[in-house]
Subunit: 161 residues, 3 copies
């Protein structure tokens, strides 16, 4: 029976880790639909209160700045013209109450004259998440255009660390 | 020992939920390869008998109508010219014997003159699945082009619900 | 108590399978970031010593040939100009100490004049992996351009087998 109790204890840890990975995946896969729906409140719920979203163009500090970005131009213009914010499959590393997620993102914008979409941006992404009161939230997202610059490559080179 | 038995019972539920999410993921990731292989029977096996595939252009009702679409023009023409049906990482919410999966899809078509592919469609997707005799099957897929229309945005806004 | 011990034994198998799927996913999602970072050593660690990477253009035999590809032209030129190697969600089938993973891949290259990226290649992929000394490694990757050819379609048609 001690053996069984020990096995159960080890299973609890292993299942918790699988659930944490799945929960981080749930957060990251909720982002694209929310941002393309233009649902600023749903986007905001994915980020920690004092989260930082650090892009090529500007740094947004705090959940309010991030939801403001969703609510305003140029983001709302992209939606009105037709756009998609997509990720590719995410490399997720969980370590206790923190996690690092690395992937590419795509920003596709509709080109009505060509009856197709233009791949406007292909970007390297690093998400840092934390478990906050039982829920996984994004604390920092760093995103850099894959234009050959060292900074985008360095971001991808740190996957899992 | 009662404690251990209780822990095991809770683990069973938690592992079942993780397995259900993985099984839904298996169904959705089998779709693209099957449809680009032009394998109508493999596509058909992913859908419930009375499934509905509701697109911008037309509504297919029943597994037979969906496999017929795979077997015929224009789908077979797209394959012959070179095409890829891709998803981005899927947000999956399981609730007992039903599940909702939300993601984007891409339809890429080869442009031989440009030695590249054209992003023909970027689409909002909502899949509703059910456990049927122990297997997860697609009961309804609703897909709308991300062209700025309210219906595509509303579809993404319902992710997880 | 026998019942509990039996349940625990079955849970161990089920959790192991979920962990194996997650571990294969970890390997495949580490590939794109490593290859776009130009980190040949990180790419090499994902492949078995005698791995084969079989593409439309050439067949690389052995981990050294694969890391050499990352370190040299034209790969390093693509990185310097701006590129992204992306997958779409991967269909993973684990069978004991081997696994098959099927998905699409995209190779996107920056077009500075158009302020956008060109979808240069959309490719059918089959990865065969094995557990080697406790770690999942890629033993063979077969990749064929989705240009309408039978070989690419056949590759996708074998998903999960």
């Amino acid at each position: 029976m001690t053996d069984t109790a020990e096995l159960v204890a080890s299973l609890l840890e292993r299942v918790q880790l699988l659930e944490d990975k799945a929960a981080v995946h749930d957060v990251l896969t909720a982002y694209g639909p929310a941002v393309d729906a233009g649902d600023a409140a749903a986007v905001g719920r994915l980020w920690a209160e004092n989260a930082v979203y650090d892009t090529d163009i500007r740094v947004m500090e705090g959940r309010d700045a991030i939801t403001e970005m969703v609510r305003t131009a140029p983001h709302q213009d992209y939606i009105a013209e037709g756009c998609g914010h997509l990720l590719d499959p995410v490399n997720i590393r969980v370590d206790g109450d923190t996690a690092v997620a690395t992937c590419h993102s795509l920003l596709l914008r509709r080109d009505p004259e060509a009856d197709s979409f233009r791949v406007w941006r292909v970007t390297a992404n690093r998400f840092e998440l934390a478990r906050v009161e039982g829920s996984w939230l994004i604390e920092r997202r760093t995103a850099r255009l894959l234009d050959g610059s060292a900074v985008a490559r360095e971001l991808l080179g740190r996957a899992g660390r």
